[in-house]
């Protein structure tokens, strides 16, 4: 209840004054024009001002300090304005002088302690306070070993994000991507902020299209290690893997069904590139699409009843939707009409829309389309964007782009207002996929 009451005023505030006029203009503008307006007019005024006060005894953690990670997580979303704590160092609610924080413009305040305890562990206690109401909005209590400090910081940021926006935080999630270094291709998994990258598998042949299982324990991907594309499923914990689609011709574009039991894959075994359903262990092959053209890049709706996919059956690559009934379908509903190249669709987590790549002139950009209105919004204006995927809370889209011929990862908020590059290693990074909320045990 407190969440709803708190988040309402914030949302109303966003629409106040000139911002509301601009928002209205944005609504009535043509879809493709809209994105540029968002970038020009979006920004600081609408952000939630929050202060993250360094925790008691946190300085003893040195480089493993919690609050810089929490602040960076929140800042990256573009939804928050980090208010400088100045010399104020409250650690308990009784130590908070609310007028001081009102004076600094903070709407919310995070305070806490991080105290070393027996066994080298750190006891963390954090409270999130509503400055106007002088009330606790949420809290976080956990005792962790030092190597878990960063993960704990992400969980604290998740709590703050959830209490202040009403949406799930995604700072504890992970991303997968492929990095090419010289002749080596490495499929890696990293934290959502790009830190803690771990290789899953490495080859001297290309790896593309990683896809997270819905429970986050497995990755499906396409490897060219046998000189042609083959779909593999690999368990992250055990590293055990299996070729689940290795038919004559090409095998690619794996997409998990929401229950994690099946994969939609694209095979050329029966001619063309067509979408099939296969059990996650490789059995039970079943054809889904039948067209004379290319059908590829399937993505399941969150309820598993539909797939959207790319097809050139109408003469140019466009995005289509069809029900998954268990049989072959020759018909599908065309969803995109603007431009001659719309590819790489991915359902939004709420199922109300999808993100995709839209080509306009020489540019390939991330866009979002709403199912109900058909409205398209361009979220980027760079030159070569690829492989968009939603954060599990639907608030951001991760995608690959390039700078000076080198692939990098970027994320854009799904309203197009905030964009950022993820910390990048040396190499050419591509094919990002944002993992699910739950983490493996």
């Amino acid at each position: 209840m407190a969440i709803a009451m708190l988040s309402m005023p914030f949302r109303l505030h966003k629409l106040s004054g000139s911002a509301a006029v601009l928002f209205f203009l944005w609504l009535v503008c043509s879809p493709v024009q809209a994105a540029l307006n968002i970038e020009i007019f979006g920004g600081g005024a609408n952000q939630i001002p929050v202060a993250i006060v360094p925790f008691a005894e946190e300085e003893r953690l040195g480089a493993q300090s919690l609050t810089p990670v929490i602040s960076a997580d929140l800042r990256r979303t573009g939804l928050f304005k980090l208010v400088d704590a100045g010399g104020l160092r409250p650690h308990e609610p009784a130590e908070v002088s609310y007028p001081d924080w009102i004076g600094r413009g903070a709407s919310a305040l995070a305070i806490g302690t991080a105290i070393p305890v027996s066994g080298g562990q750190i006891s963390i206690r954090v409270r999130l306070l509503d400055v106007a109401r002088r009330a606790e909005l949420g809290s976080y209590v956990e005792t962790v070993p030092p190597e878990q400090l960063r993960a704990a910081a992400h969980r604290i940021a998740d709590m703050i994000y959830e209490k202040l926006t009403g949406d799930a935080g995604v700072f504890s999630t992970r991303i997968a991507y492929v990095i090419k270094q010289g002749k080596k291709y490495s499929l890696q998994v990293a934290d959502a902020d790009g830190v803690n990258a771990q290789p899953v598998i490495e080859y001297t042949e290309p790896i593309i299209s990683p896809a997270w299982s819905p429970d986050g324990t497995r990755l499906a991907y396409v490897s060219f290690e046998n000189k042609k594309p083959v779909v593999y499923v690999q368990a992250l914990a055990t590293r055990a893997r299996k070729a689940v689609a290795n038919f004559r011709g090409s095998n690619s574009a794996p997409a998990w069904s929401p229950d994690g039991r099946k994969l939609a894959v694209v095979l050329s075994v029966m001619g063309g590139s067509q979408i099939f359903l296969i059990n996650a262990d490789g059995g039970g092959l079943q054809r889904l699409t039948q067209s004379s053209g290319i059908d590829t890049e399937p993505s399941f709706s969150p309820d598993g009843r539909y797939i959207i996919f790319t097809s050139d059956r109408g003469g140019s690559p466009q995005i289509y939707r069809m029900p998954v009934t268990g049989g072959v379908s020759k018909v599908a509903e065309r969803l995109t009409f603007e431009g001659s190249y719309n590819v790489s669709p991915r359902y939004s987590p709420d199922g109300k829309g999808f993100t995709f790549i839209h080509r306009s002139g020489d540019k390939f950009n991330v866009a979002i389309q709403d199912f109900a209105t058909g409205q398209v919004r361009l979220l980027t204006d760079s030159r070569f964007d690829e492989s968009p995927s939603f954060a599990p809370n639907g608030r951001m889209v991760l995608y690959a782009t390039e700078i000076r011929g080198r692939g990098i990862l970027s994320a854009v908020s799904s309203d197009g207002r905030t964009r950022q590059q993820l910390s990048t290693q040396a190499g050419d990074i591509r094919e990002p996929a944002w993992g699910p909320l739950r983490r493996p045990q």
Binding site: P206, I208, S209, F224, N226, K227, K228, P229, N246, R248, G249, S250, S252, A253, V266, S268, G271, G272, S273, I294, T296, E297, T310, S316, P317, S340, Y341, V343, S344, I357, R359, F364, F384, E386, S387, G405, R430, E431
Partner: protein
């Protein structure tokens, strides 16, 4: 699986080819047929010289059969008219050499979706395969595969590089 074996076989044969000479009889037969084929063609085959017993029409730079790449427009898999004679020549070679096998590798430029490009590369290879079968090559002689945008020839990021990479390569087994 078959395809993997095929690729492995090609790799093995390639490895062997550098050290092993083909039996001379087969060479003669191939060459004679090629000469016949050549005399039936006009213009482009002028200047071919089959008098040397080591000359292979597939590699002779004066033979149209030594040309192995077919180029495409952006997001297109239409085999352009300028490549009709090239495709027809290879189809004719296949028709006249029933034991010959080719691998068609479809490629795309780096722009756009990797998965769509994989399918587009397949479509380009399939289009060349179809044109070859229309000209009399047997389907079983031709395998069409795609490398998508994953194996670019030209490493640049401009139209010249992209044009070079929108391509189907014809590779004969044993090469």
């Amino acid at each position: 699986m078959k395809k993997v074996l095929g690729v492995l076989l090609i790799s093995l044969l390639t490895a062997c080819a550098s050290q092993t000479k083909q039996p001379g009889d087969e060479d003669m037969e191939d060459r004679d047929r090629s000469r016949d084929a050549a005399t039936q063609r006009e213009g482009s085959m002028q200047g071919e010289d089959y008098s040397s017993p080591t000359l292979n029409p597939l590699t002779d730079p004066n033979s149209i059969l030594s040309k192995r790449s077919i180029y495409f427009e952006f997001d297109s898999y239409v085999v352009k008219d300028e490549y009709r004679s090239l495709v027809a020549a290879h189809a004719k070679y296949l028709r006249e050499h029933p034991n010959a096998r080719v691998l068609l590798q479809g490629n795309t430029d780096e722009r756009g979706s990797r998965e769509y490009n994989l399918a587009l590369g397949q479509r380009r290879a399939d289009a060349v395969k179809y044109a070859m079968t229309l000209s009399g090559a047997q389907e079983g002689q031709i395998e069409a595969v795609s490398l998508g945008e994953e194996k670019p020839h030209a490493m640049g990021h401009d139209e010249a590089a992209w044009a070079e990479n929108r391509r189907v390569d014809i590779r004969y087994q044993g090469e």
